[in-house]
Symmetry: C2
C-alpha cells in the first residue's frame, strides 16, 4: 500500500512526521510512504537518520498551509501546498491514502475540491472514536460538513456503522441520533427528518433512536450521528473538559496524599495517555474514494505511525467497498 504523508502538517512537523513514517515503515513491510513537502528540508532531516527505508520517497511541494490559516484562502493562494499535492496523488491513483496532522479545515477542503467521492456518497464526514463507560463509540460527523442535510446524516449512519463493525469489531453496531431529548419528535427539523429516514432504512433494526449528549459517554450507542457543527463542538468540549479534569483532579488528589503521591501521579499519567485517542492515530474522512486520516495537530511519532497503520487496516477491511455496496444495495429511505 502506498500512502501520501503530509510532511508539513502538525504542530511538530516535519520532524515527528518523519519519525512516524520511519516507525510505520519498520512495522509494515508492504507499506510505501510518499513524504510530501519541501524536498531540501526533508532530505536534510532524513540524512540525520541511519538506514532510511527505501520505501520512503520524498515528493517535493514548495508550500504548506499553516495551522492557523484560513483554509480556503490559503489553498487558493498556495496551489503547491503539501496537502493539495497529497490529494492530487490520490486523485491520480498514485497513492491509496492521504494522512495529515495539519489544519483540519484545509485537509477537508483540499479533499472536497477533488470531488473524489465514493459512488452515491453525497458528503464525506469525519468519524472519531470516543471512549465510553462501556467501550468505544464512533461519532460522525465532527466537522467536515457543518450544514448537513438529513440524507447526509443517514449516510453517516451507513458509514459509521461500517467503520464500527470493521475497525472496532462491533457486530451490528447500535446507531443513535444525537438529539436534545430521548423521546420521538424532539429537536430540529433536521434531526426529525433524519430520524424518519433511519427508521425507514435497512438500518432500522440497528437504529436505537435519539441519544442525548450524556448518553454518548454512557455507551448508549456504538455509533452516534450528528451534523458537523454539533459534532465538532462535542469533540472539542470533550477534549477541553478532559484536559480540565485531569489538571484539577491530579492536583487535588495528589495533593491530598502524603506517602503515595508518586504512585497516584503515575496512575494519572497512564490514564491521561489513554484519553488522547492515539490508538487510531486520527480520524478518517469517510466517503472519499480513497482513504484519508486526519491526525491531531499535537500528534507524536507513535500517533502518526498508527494513522498510517489505520489506513492499512481500513484497506484490508475494504471499508469503502462495503459503504458502496450498502448504499447500492438499499433504496434511499424516505423521510
Amino acid at each position: 500500500m502506498r500512502i501520501a504523508l503530509d510532511a508539513m502538517g502538525g504542530d511538530d512537523a516535519p520532524g515527528i512526521n518523519i519519525d512516524g513514517a520511519l516507525k510505520a515503515l519498520a512495522k509494515w513491510d508492504h507499506l510505501v510512504v510518499d513524504l510530501v513537502g519541501p524536498a531540501d528540508q526533508l532530505n536534510e532531516l532524513l540524512a540525520q537518520h541511519d538506514n532510511v527505508s527505501d520505501r520512503l520517497n520524498v515528493l517535493h511541494a514548495s508550500e504548506f498551509v499553516g495551522m492557523d490559516e484560513k483554509p480556503t484562502e490559503a489553498l487558493r493562494k498556495k496551489p503547491n501546498a503539501s496537502i493539495t499535492v497529497c490529494w492530487k496523488l490520490m486523485a491520480e491513483k498514485k497513492v491509496q491514502a492521504v494522512v495529515s496532522a495539519g489544519n483540519t479545515g484545509a485537509v477537508v477542503a483540499a479533499g472536497l475540491r477533488t470531488r473524489l467521492f465514493l459512488k452515491q456518497v453525497k458528503r464525506p464526514g469525519i468519524a472519531v472514536v470516543l471512549p465510553t463507560l462501556k467501550g468505544q463509540c464512533v461519532l460522525m460527523d465532527v466537522g467536515a460538513n457543518p450544514a448537513a442535510r438529513a440524507d447526509h446524516l443517514y449516510q453517516y449512519g451507513v458509514m459509521g456503522s461500517v467503520y464500527a463493525s470493521e475497525m472496532l469489531g462491533i457486530e451490528r453496531p447500535r446507531i443513535g441520533l444525537l438529539n436534545i431529548g430521548s423521546e420521538d419528535g424532539k429537536g430540529t427539523d433536521l434531526v426529525r427528518e433524519a430520524h424518519a429516514m433511519l427508521s425507514n432504512s435497512y438500518l432500522k433494526d440497528q437504529y436505537i433512536g435519539n441519544v442525548e449528549g450524556r448518553g454518548i459517554y454512557q455507551g448508549e450507542a456504538d455509533v452516534v450521528i450528528c451534523e458537523g457543527f454539533v459534532g465538532n463542538v462535542v469533540l472539542k468540549v470533550s477534549e477541553g473538559m478532559a484536559d480540565m479534569m485531569f489538571r484539577v483532579l491530579s492536583r487535588e488528589i495528589v495533593g491530598a496524599l502524603d506517602t503515595e503521591r508518586d504512585k497516584a501521579g503515575q496512575a494519572f499519567k497512564a490514564a491521561a495517555a489513554r484519553y488522547e485517542y492515539r490508538e487510531f492515530g486520527g480520524a478518517p474522512l469517510l466517503g472519499v474514494d480513497g482513504l484519508c486520516m486526519i491526525s491531531h495537530g499535537s500528534s507524536d511519532a507513535h500517533a502518526m505511525s498508527n494513522a498510517l497503520g489505520t489506513c492499512i487496516k481500513m484497506r484490508e477491511r475494504q471499508i469503502n467497498q462495503m459503504v458502496v455496496d450498502n448504499l447500492a444495495g438499499s433504496p434511499t429511505p424516505t423521510a
Copy 2:
C-alpha cells in the same frame, strides 16, 4: 419575596422539595413559598415536620407532568399541572418567581405559553454556570430555544452578560460565540450573522469573537452564547464526560494505591461534589417577566434551597430591569 415552588418536580419530589423549602425559609426571613401540588399529599408530609414556617403555603394543583412525559402533550392533557399553576401565579403577579426541578421541557413550554416576556425580549433562554480552568462561565442557551435566530443569540449576549456581572461578580464579562473555528467567517450562516450583530452592538468591546468547544473549559470567555440545540448537547456531554471520568479515574487511581486509598477516595468525593453545579441550585430561564429557576432533576434539598436563594439574589440585583434597560438603551444591531 414570594416564590412558587413546583412541589412535584424532580426525581425525589415532593419530599426533598419540602425539605428544600423549609431550609430556605429558615435562611431567608423575608421569603414566602407557595408549595404547588396535591394539597392532601403535601399537608400529610408537612405534618411530619415540626415547627413548619407560617411563610409556607400549600396551593393545590391536582396534576403534574412526569419527568419522561412529552412536554406539550402533557401540558395539553393536564391543565392543572403543578408547573402550569406556578406560571399562572407569576402571570397574575401573585409570586415573583417560579422554581422547578421538573421536566425542563415542560417548565419552559408552560412558561413560553404565558408569553410573559420582558420588554423587547424575543425568546427567553436558559443560562447555566459551568466551571472552567480560570473560574466560571455562563453558557446560554442550553435548550429553551433549539431553533434560534441571530437576533436571539445577540439577546443571549445581553442577558448572559448581565447575569455574569451581577451573579458572578465579573466586571465587563468577555462574551464569546460558540463556533467550530476561531477565525472570522467560520461556521454556519446563523453564527456568522450573530457575529456581525455582536460586532456592531454596544457589546462590541466585551465581545471576543468565536470560542471553540475547547475554549469553554479553558476559560476563554465569561459568557459563551449558542443556540439551544448545541448548548443542550454541550451541557449533557459535559455531564456525561464528568461522570465517566470520575468513575474511571477514581477506580484507577484509588486502585493504584496501597495505604492511602481512603484519602484519595475522599478527595475524589469532595471534587465530584463541586462539579455538580449545586451552588446556584439550577439554571435561570432568562428573558421572562418574573424569575424562573430550573433545577436539575436529581437536586437535593440543599440545591433546592439554593435555587430559591438565587431567585432572591437575582431580584435584589435587578437582573430583569438591567436587561430591559440595556435592550431599550441600545439600538438593535445590524448583521
